[in-house]
Amino acid sequence: MRIERIFADKNKKRKIRVDPLNLCHPRSNHAQSKRELIMTNNNYAIEARGLNIYYDDFLAVRDVNLKIEARKITAIIGPSGCGKSTMLRAFNRMNELVPSAWAKGEVLYHGENIYAPDVDPVEVRRRIGMVFQKPNPFPKSIYENVAWGARINGYRGNMDELVEQSLRGAAIWDEVKDKLDQSGLSLSGGQQQRLCIARTIAIKPDIILMDEPASALDPIATLKIEELMHELSKEFTIIVVTHNMQQAARVSDFTAFFNLGEDRAGVLEEYDKTNKLFTNPAKQTTEDYITGRFG
């Protein structure tokens, strides 16, 4: 097994350009200087293989082997502290923002290890975007929120078109088309979250990671996000971490149940089609968790 100690490698002080909002465009010089990730036809969009994630000496996620189906919604569920978000962040090297975090094993994106030393994390995050729990629009206009990322990366196409297309894609165009110059912060929580999704899809990613995308929203806004996820899954692969099991059951095609092992490390307990996992799980621990007997 190839083993890389990629995070917090103090001896090697690699200069990693961090781009948490994955706003870098592939046309940027930075991206071109690195090897571009090659797209291949595969039913799996991304795959974790023997993945262990640590925070210093603490093993947070142990030996995960998980294949994520392309253009499907995969939900990650599990009790608090089982490494769901850590696992999600591993899919686009977002854990590198945490100084003590490091990993062993591989994450294969279209067959290529995203943790290979010569892969540019910025490129990884452009291909694999992320939407966070709390909507985090920039304190700029709605238009700029969507356009900015593409612009700073040298996007030369029709910007108005890209903004409209992205806002339509995020099912918020009709609500904001007459006030594109207003601040993104003037929108409601649910609208802000959809604006952040528009910002993410403006960069044309392949996979969208969502970390509790609706947990800060009311039921109506939650439903809109869920409908949007369903729409987006026609074009994008979505991996969503959620505490809300009904949400996982409603929106996802596949569900991965993570649990705490005896040594407090998160382990992938069961992974199956959502319909199967929520009606007749294979493992007793899954059954106990989803029926509220622990967690």
Binding site: M245, Q246, F278, T279, N280, P281, E287, I290, T291, G292
Partner: protein, 231 residues
Amino acid sequence: MMKTLTPRETFDRQLAELKDQLLVLGSMVEQMTLDAVDALKRRDIEAARNAYAYDQQINAKRFEIESTCITIIATQQPLARDLRLLASVLEVATELERMGDYAKGVARICLLMKDNPPIKPITDLPRMAEITTDMLRRALGAFVAGDAEQAAQIPQDDDAVDDLYNQINRVLLTYMMADPATIDRANYLTWAAHNLERMADRVTNICERTIYIVTGEMKELDRSDDEISKT
């Protein structure tokens, strides 16, 4: 200080109460079946009327169980085995209500026959009712206990019910052939026997639900198709 229940304990308690209610409905159906057949045997019109009217209480109990079930589904959002159990309770309550209808049918036959003398002493029908209600009692016991093994065994007793049904049919047929004037009365008894035979089949459906709750597998336990393919 009083001990407060955790949400899961509350849910478990709701499920236990629901199972109790299902057992109550089962015992109501059992009693009604035995009463109806006994009324038919003794030609007791009053008892038949009571059994006939008792169906309304069974229907009401079924609605009560269904309503409780729907409230639990809405408030607890059950999953996995809990979900399979609740979906099965809805199904079993329906089966029991239909079995009540069959028993009502037997009571109705008693009322329709009025003072007409019985074609022959009624001996096999009570035996059929006895086996069927015994199957029902054991099937519900296995259902609430989640005993798939026992549930898989019970439908085998259906053979005895089928044998009695065939025997009753044969005997009544000979009466009808010998004297066409008996056709009406013989038909009534065939009808009653048929109702009891159907009840036993519905017990099999309850057993299938028990297996579904335990294993998650929807499996047919009815072996009547095998019999047809053998002939």
